[in-house]
Amino acid sequence: MTTLDHHTKSARPVPNPQKSLITKLNMGTGLIVGIIFAYVTYKLVRGSNPDWEPTQDINNHNQALIASMLMWSVGFLVGIGAFIGPWRWMIGKDLTAEEQLYLAGDGQGIKRYFKYCTDHKVVGIQYLWGVIAMLAVGGTLAMMIRTNLAMPGAKLVTPSIYNSLVGLHGITMIVAMIVVATGPFGNYIMPIMIGARDMAFPRLNALSWWVLFTAIPVLCSAWFLGGIPTGWTAYAPLSVQAGPGMNAFLCTIIIFAVSTAVAGANITATVVGMRTKGMTWNRVPIFVIGATISVALAVPAFPTFMLSMIQTAMDRTFQTGFFDANAGGSGWLYAHLFWIMGHPEVYVILLPGVAALMEIVPVFVRRPLFSYTSAVVGFAGIAGLSVLVWAHHMYMSGWMPMLNGPFMVTTEMISVPTGLIFLVILGTMWNGRPWMKLPMLGVFAFLWNMLIGGITGLYLSDVPADNYLHGSMYVTAHFHYTLMGAALTGAVAGLAYWYPKMTGRMLNERAGYISFWLIQIGFNVLFLGMFIVGAEGQPRRVADYAQEYGTANMVSTIGAYSIGLGFIILLWAVVHSWRHGKIAPMNPWGAKTLEWTVPYPVPLENFDELPVITSDPYGYGKAAH
């Protein structure tokens, strides 16, 4: 682990870390080795037939592509040095203390962000920029989608390109949103919040980021291989019949699932085992609770996603027929595997963002968090119920209509623990005086967006209403209200809140306010318009639509441009303030959680002496003094 044990004495002569292989490896060597692995694998699987044509032997072409994409990931990890530690351990020559210190990025400046660095703060920043890059790509794709939909009959892109835009936008945003809060804040902030020196498994922490990183080029390659024509749900048998771009989708998910499993296990182990003395469960900051429940939920959910992708890959390469009705398989089997992951995944995305907002409210209202127990019960209740609701996505599939009723009941019951989340935030705000800084604005935006997202979710969970609304733009608007309007708003508020601790600078306030209003107004214009066309009968994922939906679609597109402009301004603020922002004091918000007790830059092991906790972190309010 990164945490250097100063008492450890190596029995062997200490090698100079500057001469060790570790120092030679970085992202560049990773790219080179990864490309070599991918190329060699492709050639080996393809065989040596000089007359071979990918279009004539589709199975073999798919096999070669899938194998080379997965081996790219392995090769990159080899090239960046991810396996040096385990290898040295296996041959009985574990890393020396100096080498561990080097792995932790000590004294390496900006270079450590391009290396296999085990410091949780470096991993947090890597995740942050990775998420920003993915959101930028996904957002650009969304703008292209909305531009094409601005007017009926628009032929800006072909139907083939449009379907690819939809698929790539969907999966890029889903991947980005799953790690949008737990990636940057779960890695950078959370260990400090619980008074730990690092994550429980720092090498695994670095591994989770770099594995995720290797998924990004794989996903991008889909564009050059003919795109993803299936949307992010990738329903079989459409995904089995799709072109070679589909292989990139499958491999992205397989790689991403590995990353998520590693990160989820690590974060859970860290919170369970590394809380500082006195931090009993009822004194754990609520963000830590929310993020932990979220990743713990991901640990069982994502393997089924990975399994469905492996089976799809086998159908595509070996004609195994898992999901092919002609071969005795079933598309419903795919739908089950997908949604057993897919619905918990919504809450994997939502909970950390909401938890970040709960962390923000007491600080900016100067009141104790209202009913901490309700918050925990709310999170746990949502997580628990979320694994029992997957088939509400399949009401209209024709699978087992007699089970629609039970799934309707479990789905609608989620509104009770969700209500507790609202109660905690509103109760904390009650009779306080909210300090209207950017993070607090996010709380107000969340309340409105989540309210709309939640209520429209109630309609969709109801079988008779879903009978009409399923597969329409109404669904698209609903899940954007929850995932973007609530979860992303929470993550952006979290960024504004923790930005001073992560960068040592204050985020440009004026730019932050402008971006906030552009995004939130644009968001509501966009998706309220989408609710209307959905209720009127416009299906989702269509490249074109009837004349009657034209006005609302144009309004939605205007809203989308407002969001786009808002995010460009926010990105400028983040980049500009990183170098030129006002120097942040150690605790600019007057918060009471542990991360605000350490200076910037945060020392390698966070604390000179580990703190001892004697009370909960929300001791605000008159009666508390």
């Binding site: 299936t230 749900t233 209209m396 109760g427 109630l458 008779p464 009978n467 009409y468 009127e536 929300y618």
Partner: protein
């Protein structure tokens, strides 16, 4: 207060405490906001949804529109509560570069949490029961109507819908969905390739077309009008264009149309 007065002091009843609570300025203004927002959402339910949703040509479509209205009304008090609390907080907002003074220090209110939880559960239960009753009513109607219904086979094929009318009408095929008024119809749906979702919009029913697995849905057109048939499941390149039209016709007009298609009246 003298000892005698203290001795004679009567503890207020829960009703008196609640009345006093409601008279507090912060509470009364929040309650007023809550009524306002609730009313807004009720008006949205009553006015907007019936205008957004298509004119129903079947009981299924009409019950869906009614359900959207009722669910919005059920949700309106929740919206009122959330938005009134948020408004109350927003009106007390603090600006400036220094944090506001500390607010009240209480960290929970068991009665408040219990009341909220019970109210949320009751509203949820209401929605659940209403939905189950509607679903059951629709299922019973389907079974009842299916007994003497016309069976139309629907085949989803990238990217065309094909409708095959009963053998008793000549078993002709059409890419237009015309139906007679007041005659129940069972759609027997299957896909020839990938998943599609059969959606005759104004009839308010929808079900997937799966490869080799037949699905059925029953409806009864009760009003004359045009039908837009769409595909609600992404099915590949021309998914957006997998649509057709049709109409609910009088029996005479339907019979005439059947004959033009090479069929005959049943």
């Amino acid at each position: 207060m003298s000892e005698h007065e203290q001795f004679n002091k009567v503890e207020p009843t829960p009703g008196e405490r609640f009345s006093k609570f409601l008279k507090r300025k912060d509470v009364s203004s929040t309650v007023a906001w809550a009524f306002f927002y609730t009313l807004v959402f009720v008006l949205v339910a009553l006015y907007l949804y019936p205008r957004w949703m298509p004119k129903g040509l079947s009981n299924e479509m009409r019950s869906t529109t009614r359900l959207m209205v009722i669910f919005t009304i059920i949700s309106a008090p929740v919206c009122g509560f959330v938005l009134s609390m948020a408004t109350h907080a927003f009106l007390r907002r603090h600006k400036g570069d220094t944090p506001p003074a500390d607010g009240p220090g209480f960290s929970t209110n068991r009665l408040g949490v219990a009341t909220f939880s019970v109210m949320a559960s009751i509203l949820t239960l209401t929605a659940v029961i209403y939905g189950l009753v509607e679903m059951n009513t629709a299922a019973e109607a389907s079974v009842r109507e299916a007994k003497d219904a016309m069976v139309v086979k629907v085949v989803g094929n990238q990217w065309v819908w094909t409708f095959e009318y009963p053998e008793s009408m000549g078993g002709f095929k059409s890419e237009v969905l015309n139906l007679p008024l007041n005659k129940a119809v069972v759609f027997d749906i299957v896909s020839a390739d990938v998943n599609h979702s059969f959606w005759p919009v104004q009839l308010g029913v929808k079900v997937d077309a799966n490869r080799l697995a037949h699905t059925t849905v029953t409806t009864k057109p009760i009003k004359l009008g045009e039908i837009d048939v769409k595909c609600a499941e992404l099915c590949g390149l021309y998914h957006a264009y997998m649509e057709t039209t049709g109409a609910v016709m009088t029996t005479d007009d339907f019979n005439k149309w059947v004959i033009t298609q090479g069929g005959h009246t049943a």
